[in-house]
């Protein structure tokens, strides 16, 4: 799950992680008020969307830049007027852009040094790892490729967490000394506390800055949360912004379906994540392009299958559908009945290829034949892929 920049700032404030003062606003009037409350002539107005590349983005109304500096509340208000309610197009949004519903006004700081600080999960050793670099403000993968010696990693033992000496060691490696050394170490300890108590899988502060007034601040941050742990963090779940997600994925999540939208024209419905990925792969191998990833899970109900089918059919790009089920826990007759119900509820606009195998496969096949639906049956996975690719081409 992703969150907005202003929400990240709220989390920083809660955990005592120093960052420039700032607040969100939804109207130009509110923007002016928030800007006035900051009591500074050095301001920045930032469009709040989940996609990156905002600074160089262009609004569809012609206004340039999703991140703008200004020096008075009145100016902030004018900038907000041009951003709010308009679509911002960046290199990550696609040509349609994203509607800006909120902006954030913050104090703009003068930067002396830009650094990098992140805590993430190392799968191999099963521990959190802190990654720091003196090369901040640029993509860390670029740093890793060009000058790996500038990246320092520190493994954190999951049972004791980050210790003060580690935070000091890291701060010292980043070249901090005196009061700033202590300030940076305190910031690191607080970020770890945030990481661990909010079940994050990534907190990346890029850049971490030393300002010209010698303050150590987290300037911009990226968060990833462990979806498995969201049940114990209702306040994080409340930060979810469905406007920023693919509407097909939002709809699917309401029915407990694992759906990810893609750009192709062959929809697929599969049980199990590994088989769902493999089905996408074999569609590509057979010369087609998958329109989605969809795992209906191990124990999906008839209703879930029906809803899944409705989502696939609603996608206007879809030219053919492949249902691939290997029934283990999932019974093939349940899948078959779900398909039949769905097709009765929403007329079938495109060809449908079905491959059933496993538990109750004969009952499932019998149901489909008796339904007299125009279904192309496939004997195995390879045949299923060939049939659905041909069907999408209108063959």
């Amino acid at each position: 799950m992703n969150i907005h920049e202003y929400q990240a700032k709220e989390l920083f404030e809660r955990f005592g992680v120093a960052s420039p003062k700032g607040k969100p606003a939804q109207t130009p009037e509110e923007t002016e008020k928030v800007a006035a409350d900051l009591k500074t002539s050095s301001l920045v107005v930032k469009a709040q969307i989940h996609a990156g590349g905002r600074g160089k983005g262009v609004f569809k109304n012609g206004f340039k830049g999703g991140v703008k500096l200004c020096s008075s509340p009145g100016e902030a208000r004018e900038i907000a007027q041009n951003m709010l309610g308009h679509y911002l197009v960046t290199n990550q949004t696609g040509p349609g852009g994203r509607l800006v519903r909120k902006i954030m006004v913050a104090e703009s700081v003068q930067i002396q040094r830009e650094l990098y600080f992140a805590i993430l999960l190392d799968r191999k050793i099963g521990s959190p790892v802190v990654v720091v670099s003196t090369e901040g403000g640029v993509d860390i993968e670029t740093v890793a490729a060009k000058s790996p010696e500038k990246i320092v990693r520190e493994v954190i033992h999951p049972l004791i967490g980050m210790q003060p000496f580690m935070a000091l060691k890291l701060a010292s490696q980043l070249g901090f000394s005196g009061e700033q050394l202590k300030a940076a170490a305190k910031l690191f300890m607080n970020v770890y506390r945030l990481f661990s108590s909010m079940d994050c899988s990534l907190v990346e502060i890029n850049p971490l800055v030393l300002t010209t007034t010698n303050e150590v601040l987290a300037l911009d941050a990226k968060f990833n949360f462990d979806d498995n742990a969201l049940y114990r963090h209702p306040e994080i779940v409340a930060m979810r912004d469905e406007h920023e997600e693919d509407p097909r994925e939002v709809e699917a999540s309401k029915f407990g379906l694992n759906y990810i939208g893609l750009d192709g024209n062959i929809a697929c419905l599969v049980n199990g994540a590994g088989l769902a990925m493999a089905t996408m792969d074999i569609i590509k191998y057979a010369g087609g392009q998958p329109a989605n990833f969809l795992d209906v899970g191990g124990g999906a109900s008839e209703e879930q299958v029906t809803e899944a089918f409705k989502i696939l059919v609603a996608d206007k790009n879809v030219k053919a559908i492949l249902v691939n089920i290997f029934g283990g826990i999932m019974r093939c007759d349940v899948i078959a009945q779900g398909i039949i119900n769905a097709v009765k509820a929403v007329t079938l606009p495109v060809p449908l290829v079905v491959r059933l195998e496993g538990t109750n496969v004969d009952q499932g096949k019998k149901l489909l034949i008796e339904s007299k639906l125009p279904i192309r049956a496939a004997g195995d996975l390879g045949e299923a892929a060939r049939l659905v690719v041909a069907a999408a081409r209108g063959e």
Binding site: L121, R123, D199, N258, G274, M277, A278, D281, K284
Partner: protein
């Protein structure tokens, strides 16, 4: 021979009275697994289906029944505790089927298990089966057949697909094991590969991998210099978009790491034959065995 489970496995089921725990405990019993006990706190002294004794704690179950393996169906918020309880009681093999355990919980469990004699398989896995002897998990038993091919994977249904391709062609399996789809789990691909290397009954190995992490690469590097039997691999997720979690919590391409292309390359570099599609895994393995 086989690995990890066989006729002598005495199975405990943690969460035996829950809906899926009960369903799959019955599935294992019907397959012939020796289920000796169940645990559900508060239901001690009752019995499951009138024949399997239920205990309040794993420690009691272990003392009374001598169970040497456990299958965990406890809901995700309590599953980490269930794993630690089984390890504390000294149960040798812990198979955790539960999906959705927070990563932070699993990191702590893993740190504790380092000093324990118990082996964890999973979580978020289909389990382990030695065909004809013992099934611990949620896989449909009838698709398997006793034989000489070892199968290792992270996923459930993709493994069934592969196993079925073998069985239909008359080729059986020594043991099939799913290590689970989470970013942090107990037993790794490498651990399993080493066990298959030492198992004389296993004549060939199928390694089914997927995007995310580098467990497949780690196993491939070891196979290159140490594993003498034919190996066939398939890596799922070549078409998965980066940065998205593909169903399994661990199936995610982060930046440039964990891609299918890198894994397939690592397989080829280790002399492993990569099947072109998931439909060709069985056939590819059989060709290797014949040549």
């Amino acid at each position: 021979m086989s690995i990890l489970v066989n006729r002598n496995t005495r199975l405990l089921v943690q969460g035996i009275t829950g809906q899926s725990g009960a369903f799959h405990a019955r599935g294992c019993m019907e397959y012939g697994t020796n289920v000796v006990a169940g645990v559900t706190p508060g239901k001690g002294k009752q019995s499951f289906d009138g024949k399997i004794p239920i205990f309040d704690t794993v420690s009691q179950a272990r003392k009374r029944t001598g169970c040497n393996a456990t299958m965990i169906f406890v809901p995700a918020p309590f599953a980490a505790d269930a794993i630690l309880e089984a390890a504390d009681a000294g149960v040798e093999l812990i198979v955790c089927i539960t999906e959705g355990i927070p990563v932070m919980d699993m990191m702590r469990v893993k740190a504790v298990l380092k000093d324990s004699k118990s082996r964890l398989v999973g979580p978020n896995c289909p389990g382990i089966i030695t065909p004809g002897e013992c099934k611990i998990g949620i896989m449909p038993g009838y698709i398997h057949k006793r034989g000489n091919i070892g199968v290792i994977s992270r996923s459930g249904t993709l493994t069934y697909e592969t196993v079925w391709q073998l069985t239909q062609r008359g080729y059986g399996q020594s043991t099939c094991i799913g290590v689970g789809g989470d970013p942090i789990g107990g037993t790794s691909y490498l651990d399993v590969v080493k066990m298959f290397a030492d198992d004389p009954e296993t004549k060939g190995l199928i390694l089914i991998g997927e995007i995310g992490g580098d467990a497949e690469e780690e196993a491939a590097a070891w196979i290159k210099t140490n594993f003498k039997k034919p190996v066939c691999a398939f890596i799922a997720g070549a078409t998965a978009p980066p940065g998205r979690r593909m169903g399994h919590a661990g199936a995610i391409v982060a930046g440039s790491s964990g891609t299918a292309a890198a894994k397939i390359e690592a397989m080829r570099a280790a002399g492993i034959t990569a099947a072109e599609t998931p439909a060709m895994v069985g056939e590819t393995m059989i060709k290797l065995l014949k040549s």
